[in-house]
Amino acid sequence: MRSYEEELQYLEKISPVCWRIKKGFVPNMNVEGIFYVNEPLEELMFEELKHSVGQGGGIGGFLPGVRQIANVAALPGIVGRSIGLPDIHSGYGFAIGNMAAFDVSDPKAVVSPGGVGFDINCGVRLVRTNLFEKDLQPVKEQLCQTLFDHIPVGVGSKGVIPMNAKDLEEALEMGMDWSLREGYAWAEDKEHCEEYGRMLNADPSKVSLRAKKRGLPQLGTLGAGNHYAEIQVVDEIYDKFAAKVMGLEEVGQVVVMIHSGSRGLGHQVATDALVQMEKAMKRDKIEVNDRQLACARINSVEGQDYLKGMACAANFAWVNRSSMTFLARQAFAKVFESTPDDLDMQVIYDVSHNIAKFEEHIVCGQQKTLLVHRKGSTRAFPPHHPLIPVDYQITGQPVLIGGTMGTCSYVLTGTEQGMLETYGSTCHGAGRALSRAKSRRNLDYTDVLNQLEKQGISIRVASPKLVMEEAPDSYKNVTDVVETCHAAGISKKCVKLRPVAVIKG
């Protein structure tokens, strides 16, 4: 067992916001690791490592983030580096905020459900309006309540969009094309969605009956945990041109942010895959440093089945966010006695921050097809990338960073440097600082609600007693996270948003 000081020998600061994890920090590292942190985040990161030394394991069953990045660097077929984003915190296998790419042409390269996360295609969608804060103030409470009435929230919530088993099969295969066909989405929504809202390799026959059963009643529901729908206003504009392209003209403009994922369906797809992969690991003799890093070769049956099932769950999440957009549009139209069209409720963008995708990247001067795992990490492609919508070709892809309840959120744009350094990836949100259990012990929910009221934020929650788990104090400061990404050049600040009403599980 090494001492904390000995551990530090393997870590080297290579820029004011970037650290390198040298090979040897954990056994069998194929590549180095790096992580991006500014000073306040650095402190949290090292404190976590210090705590874990001598304990043998980590906190709450997870290893510290630094060690998790290094363990991922030891997975077969990884290329480049194992990358930790500023909002990194310990998760199942991979840390949340860890991005890793695997070379598809390497027969030993793997896919790991831990590198995607349990909430497959958890993501953020931002919808603009042509309203301003002054239009909102008189009806804020009413609007918040209407949204809460339209979009069911909480664990075990059920949606208001009728769906039968056949609809679900089609939705899993078609993603947002299903929403479009049925009339829940607008043609322009598809245009402004990562992957155009549909993973083409989806195969519903690879999704277990149990997963489908869990997903069926949950369409159009937010879920619980850190998921939310927020009414926000533009607080600050850093890049006027890019903001204008997104239709954000001035400070005070009202937008709606929806943060949700694939609900129980995605969770079940991941759980099912982990069982299969443990068998595949034994058969193919895949060695990993951490049992939670269960994985299978990309080209194995288990690997392919997982990717097809994961694509279905991703499609479900897009249908889910599209359905909630439909409901939010209805709520706004009702309160403002107008139509969503007249309120200009266009989707600015929809990002996924828990997903694995095949992408083309330049590795050591050569173009390669990589399987890019982004867990708690958002794709951030630069200007002129062929996979981003035509409207954002000049500005780069919009990156939506959801804050925590009561704190601000950000819109960033992708950069060339990010494409080179992190395979076009950046942070995803605030990132937890305290574990959920610890938050429950340290914070009182009435204090949290009072604090929000003081800030003038309306809130509707299904289970107030769980609010403190999601209190801003439980999270890292989202501004530190975004500033670090901006300083490192892996994405660029564009707009800051401030919440005025929140609905949560």
């Binding site: 909480g154 919530s157 043609a187 919508p389 035509v390 409207d391 000049i394």
Partner: protein, 237 residues
């Protein structure tokens, strides 16, 4: 297929046409010649061809097809020869029909040129240059290029209430220097030229995307029927 082509060329007897009726086939050939092909064959030859009961009609028809450069043998493959004639006729009248269908501009690519205008004639050149001067546009030595540019500008000026997608490009005010090219060149002039090409390409892509959105909306008008049922809703704990 042949029946549809006969309808498309506008043959008045299309409804009563039958491929196995020799007289009707002959009448169709004569109609095509008189109304569409108007070949410059000797008058007496054409008169004989017009006489559908002429004893040597088949031979005349064979000669006629040879002068039309038909690749199919009319004796061995009679139906194929008729089909070829109809295709040729459609090819001849297609540009004219496109010109008439100007109302359907949303999906047409605007290639339907008026074939009767000679772009090299001095009148045309003068007219186009005058138009360009009125619109304060630079001219190109090839008048048809200038004409295309004039048409593009007019279309944009006239399209005030046209669908522009979610972001109106005319609202941007940004200099070339603020736009990233994505790669480097040593020459500023070359860089600017590449940026302009990028912008033109993006403009084309936007148009294509708008057409796709229109197509999706058209399909939605048939398939879409969104429903909600608030009885199904349940808030969790």
């Amino acid at each position: 297929m042949t029946t549809r082509k006969i309808l498309a060329v506008g043959y008045p007897e299309a409804k009563h046409f039958a491929l196995n009726d020799e007289t009707k086939v002959r009448r169709l050939v004569v109609w095509l010649e008189d109304n569409i092909f108007n070949t410059e064959l000797p008058q007496d030859f054409l008169d004989n061809l017009r006489n559908v009961s002429h004893p040597q009609w088949t031979q005349l028809f064979q000669e006629y097809l040879i002068t039309c450069q038909c690749p199919v043998d009319p004796v061995a493959e009679r139906t194929a020869a008729i089909d070829w004639l109809l295709r040729e006729a459609l090819r001849l009248i297609a540009p004219l029909q496109n010109g008439n269908a100007a109302g359907d501009q949303a999906m047409s690519n605007g290639d339907g040129q008026a074939t009767t205008i000679d772009p090299t004639s001095p009148e045309f050149q003068q007219g186009v240059n005058k138009l360009a001067a009125m619109l304060k546009m630079p001219t190109h030595p090839d008048a048809s290029v200038t004409f295309k540019a004039v048409a593009n500008l007019m279309e944009r000026l006239a399209g005030g209430n046209e669908y522009h997608g979610s972001n109106d490009p005319s609202a941007f005010q940004v200099t070339l220097n603020e736009i990233a090219l994505g790669f480097e060149t040593a020459d500023k002039g070359l860089t600017d030229a590449c940026k302009i090409l990028r912008l033109l390409h993006i403009d084309q892509m936007r148009k294509l995307q708008t057409q796709m959105d229109h197509a999706l909306v058209a399909v939605q008008s048939i398939t879409a029927d969104p429903k909600t049922n608030s009885d199904l809703g349940k808030i969790g704990f």
